[in-house]
């Protein structure tokens, strides 16, 4: 039996968990290719016009799986991974948007509801009713599969926190590449470090973000992202705020932003956001307004369905140059 997983939204963060889990249970896992123009176009056609770009992209990936010969499509309903906190409403209603807007898709959808106490979603998968009776999984097999998936995912997170990008961390975890072959993104000897604020589905989707990760690397800049931080570092920032955003990943970004502002290694912040994202426009504004307070430059890169690549390249170059100049000036002055 084949289970399709869209390479979109939280894929970069949880893919290893999902893949290990299903494969351990004897299912074949199929994923969509990285986002292309064609995939986005499919998504645009199937969604309401005002919705944010990442959801359109996701719907495009689901439509792509529909054309393939898979038995099920895995569309988890992320509700909460932290007490008292929720996901952006579009995540919580994602399976509903799909099943009521694409005719006949519902029976194909696996829509487990994810409500856990932490990022570690293993707890949710222990529930045998998770797939509403669609998959026939024995209790014992399930237990084994969850344990294995959890272990691999935790390894992946450990590697992430060493400063590898999500993709690299995943490859290293499964042993496809050695650590030597990857450059950690926040390699210390590079003299410029940028805090890259953005959801995994924006930052690591090379089509959406026009591969900003490698663009910066090629300029010799090292990078820090939210998922490279320890949970404590994130939680500490959140504790200091009188009120947080309610949406877990948006909160992580906001917390990471303030952490980077305070972290001496970081020279400036780039916020990668997609067209139509409400939560981002709030947290972006807060970070932007506070940038002078910490004397660290802040730049927003906004991606839509048809941004121009050259334009982005120039803007990033200008920003990096400015940071370099600033740094040199400070060093001279000191």
């Amino acid at each position: 039996m084949k289970i399709g997983i869209p390479q979109s939204l939280l894929y970069e963060y949880y893919y290893l968990f999902w893949k290990t889990y299903f494969e351990e249970l004897g299912f074949e896992v199929v994923t969509t290719p990285p986002t292309t123009k064609g995939i986005i176009d499919k998504g645009v056609k199937l969604s309401v016009p005002e919705i944010c770009v990442p959801i359109k992209v996701y719907i495009g990936h689901v439509a792509t799986l529909l054309e393939e010969d898979v038995d099920y499509i895995f569309v988890p309903r992320f509700v909460s991974i932290k007490k008292g906190q929720f996901f952006c409403p579009k995540f919580m209603g994602l399976p509903d948007m799909l099943r009521y807007s694409i005719e006949g898709i519902e029976e194909k959808l696996l829509m487990p509801s994810i409500s856990t106490k932490s990022d570690n979603i293993a707890e949710a998968f222990k529930d045998p009713k998770l797939f509403q009776g669609k998959l026939n999984i024995g209790m014992k097999d399930n237990k084994r599969a969850v344990e294995k998936a959890e272990k691999i995912w935790l390894d992946f997170r450990t590697n992430s926190k060493k400063g590898y990008s999500c993709k690299e961390a995943a490859e290293i975890t499964v042993g496809n590449v050695g650590k030597e072959e990857c450059v950690p993104l926040n390699k210390e000897e590079v003299n410029l470090t940028i805090g890259l604020i953005g959801y995994v589905y924006n930052v690591y989707d090379a089509f959406i973000s026009m591969d900003i990760v490698n663009k910066l690397r090629n300029m010799g800049v090292s990078i820090k992202t939210f998922e490279m931080l320890e949970d404590d570092e994130i939680n500490k920032e959140l504790k200091d705020m009188s009120k947080t955003l309610f949406w877990t990943f948006s909160d992580k970004l906001l917390a990471a932003g303030y952490h980077f502002y305070k972290n001496e290694e970081v020279d400036g912040l780039i916020h990668v956001t997609a067209f139509g994202c409400g939560p981002d426009s709030m947290l972006g504004k807060l970070l932007e307004l506070d940038s002078p307070l910490y004397n660290k430059p802040f730049m927003t890169v906004r991606i839509d369905e048809h941004s121009g690549e050259n334009h982005l390249q120039t803007r990033i170059e200008a920003f990096v140059d400015m940071l370099k100049r600033k740094k040199i000036n400070v060093q001279r002055g000191a």
Binding site: G93, D96, T244, L245, M282, K285
Partner: protein, 363 residues
């Protein structure tokens, strides 16, 4: 201290409560195009529309001299609860010196709630405070009763605009009342005023009833939803909203074990389409559509603020609901350009469609 509050729906009640407690109240002007433009200018681009309008409303209140702004924190997984953080930071950056007092539901944050009450209570006794709260609650309930009548009568008035004028007068009467007796008087006078409006006789089978659903702020605030109720009324349709302030209070301010039946029922009706609460009023929106359909309404207007996260989910689902239940739904996006001729044409066309459907059924 001069206090103000966000402009939403029947503002006379906020004003009343604060006045009863002896504050100098600055009522923000009714949102106008200027308010909206100010809000749009100072808010993040993809902030939802209500956040922007409230931003503009605060700026105007500050221009009128407000020093303290009282607002509800909101709750649940939507961003309403975070409004104040963004608003105050932006106002600060614009060098406006105001203080915010944020009320979260007293059953969520008991201590905070009473700390806030304490701050606005001044020298009043607790007895006076509770009496004032009760008074205002009664006022809201009475206003809601009259408003529901207004929404029906307006469709059949013979002299155009008469009902709306009466409604304005009623709000004014309530504004002047500050004792129980005066409140009773205002209510009776209001009932009287409405009874005097001459109405056309329309046969029941020809009556058109339209439900209005969507995010609470745009559903309740006529000045930003292009006065949708008046438009529909003038086109001969009876209107019922999904939200009234008294219901909102019942659900959000009173404890869980009482008074929640209505809202729970509505949520249940939405379950098939959106099984869990996803924030804002999306689940209520689909629940109310199902409910209006069951109650024989002829159509529903769905008001969706620009960039509203949860309503985008309901919008995605609505075509399917119409397909399954047959009730026509028109989604209107509410943004700084709402109220243009284009929206009006769409509303008229929608009513034509409904009328067409109806006469076909009869013949």
């Amino acid at each position: 201290m001069k206090v103000s509050f966000p402009y939403m729906g029947t503002t006379v009640v906020y004003k009343k409560l604060l006045e009863l407690l002896g504050h100098e109240v600055i009522v923000p002007p009714k949102p106008s195009q200027r308010t909206i433009n100010l809000g749009v200018k100072y808010s993040p681009e993809f902030a939802c529309f209500p956040l922007k309008v409230i931003m503009g409303s605060y700026i105007e209140a500050i221009e009128k001299g407000a020093e303290v702004i009282i607002t509800s924190g909101g709750h649940g997984p939507c961003r309403a609860g975070f409004y104040e953080k963004v608003h105050s930071k932006i106002l600060q950056a614009e060098n406006h010196d105001v203080e915010f007092i944020v009320f979260d539901s007293m059953f969520r944050n008991f201590k905070g709630f009473f700390r806030n009450i304490y701050r606005i209570k001044q020298n009043n006794s607790w007895y006076k405070v509770s009496q004032s709260l009760l008074f205002v609650y009664n006022m809201i309930k009475k206003l809601d009763i009259l408003e529901k009548e207004v929404e029906t009568i307006r469709a059949y008035e013979i002299r155009k605009g008469e009902t709306t004028r009466a409604w304005e007068k009623i709000q004014d009467l309530f504004d002047k009342a500050s004792t129980k007796k005066e409140l009773e008087g205002a209510f009776n006078k209001g009932t009287q005023l409405l009874r005097e409006i001459k109405q056309e006789k329309v046969h029941d089978s020809n009556k058109i009833r339209i439900g209005i659903v969507g995010e609470i702020y745009v559903v309740m605030e006529a000045s930003i939803n292009m006065k949708i109720e008046e438009i529909l009324g003038s086109l001969g349709a009876e209107v019922e909203r999904s939200q009234y302030l008294s219901q909102w209070i019942n659900y959000n301010v009173t404890p869980k074990f009482i008074n929640r039946t209505h809202e729970m029922e509505i949520l249940k009706k939405g379950e098939k389409y959106i099984p869990i609460p996803i924030g804002g009023h999306a689940k209520q929106t689909v629940g109310h559509i199902v409910d209006f359909n069951e109650r024989g309404f002829d159509g529903v207007i769905h008001l969706m603020p620009f960039a509203c996260l949860p309503e985008l989910v309901s919008q995605s689902i609505i075509p399917k609901i119409t397909e399954e239940l047959g009730i026509p739904v028109l989604t209107l996006a509410i943004d700084e350009q709402a109220g243009t001729a284009n929206s009006l044409t769409r509303i008229e066309a929608f009513l034509d469609l409904i009328q067409g459907k109806k006469s076909k059924k009869i013949s």
